[in-house]
Amino acid sequence: GQEFQFGSCRVEGVVLQELWAAFRAVKDVVQAQDNITGVRLLRKEVLQNVSDAESCYLIQALLKFYLDTVFKNYHGKAAEFRILKSFSTLANNFIAITSRLRPSQENEMFSISESARRRFLLFQREFKQLDVEAALTKAFGEVDILLTWMEKFYQ
């Protein structure tokens, strides 16, 4: 069966199509709220040319940020737009993924994890430069960019 392989991190028990179905159900409603069209949080510099080894560190940082910051603070909007079901599917599948990620802590991986951290900080810095509500809306609206990148590691 298919699974995620972020370098040495293997994640079973998550069906990417379920995540896509959940996001597609809310994509129009969510992205219509994003008025800052000239800015992209998940820019090329964050997601392009990510090595397999880096990918486990990066996906862990990104998903944790989505769980701790984006979903947590966007929940009120999700209730307002009546999209709680899809919101819950995405959040709980992100929980399922992060709970199964085991990035290596070995010393020789330090430079790789640092590289992944720099990519994540690029994303986080961009997020913090926006007004909070606008940043939350844009980040949630960019879940399709995240899923597209994650798809490369779904085999």
Partner: protein, 204 residues
């Protein structure tokens, strides 16, 4: 909130087979009255980050039956809390919560139904349609000493699949098991079904 005067539903439990999840409970009985039930769920995310948040079930908010198909609500392989309450007009019971959170990876997987048929010299099978979550691993072999077992993955049930172009007069046996990506588990193999070209299917 209405005053809680109705008794709360008791004996909540989940029966899950082949990724179909049914929440059941003991009915609340008020002679001559129809009771409505409301079912809500929260996944691990909600219980970790916002435990006050519960989401109404897709099909049972409300329902009159003491059961609820929660399959469409359980959309991740994490623990889910489930709760039910009864209402009668403005009267509302307390919530009853499932004692042990439910995870879909505990579902019972049964061997798939399997039909083996011949179309001329083609060996054709049809597997039980169990829904999009299911893939099938099919094993088949010629029924003769030392025969090699062949394996074929079948993505969907419910449609005929050509397994092999067989030799006249040869007998073939087939068995299958399901695989569910969402939980990374597979069922036991079905019983082998054998068929002899130009003969009738033989059950072992």
């Amino acid at each position: 909130d209405g005053v809680a005067v109705l008794t709360a539903p008791q004996n909540l439990s989940v029966q899950s087979t082949n990724m179909k999840h049914l929440l059941t409970w003991s009915p609340v009985v008020v002679p001559g009255e129809i009771i409505d039930y409301f079912v809500e769920y929260q996944g691990e995310y909600e219980s970790l980050y916002m435990s006050h948040i519960w989401i109404p079930s897709s099909w049972c908010s409300p329902t009159e039956n003491p059961e609820c198909d929660i399959t469409d609500d359980i959309t991740a392989t994490v623990l889910y809390n489930l709760r039910v309450r009864a209402t009668l007009g403005s009267q509302t019971s307390a919530w009853s919560t499932l004692k042990h959170p439910f995870n879909r990876n505990s579902t019972i997987l049964t061997p798939p139904g399997l039909e083996v048929s011949k179309d001329g010299f083609h060996l054709v099978i049809k597997l039980e349609d169990l829904g999009p979550q299911f893939e099938f691993l099919v094993a088949y072999w010629r029924r003769e000493p030392g025969a090699k077992e062949h394996i074929k993955m079948v993505r969907n049930g419910g449609v005929p699949v050509l397994l092999e172009t067989a030799e006249p007069g040869a007998a073939y046996c087939v068995k299958a098991q399901t695989f569910v990506k969402a939980i990374g588990r597979h069922s036991a193999f079905s019983q082998a079904e054998c068929v002899k070209l130009q003969g009738e299917a033989l059950s072992l």
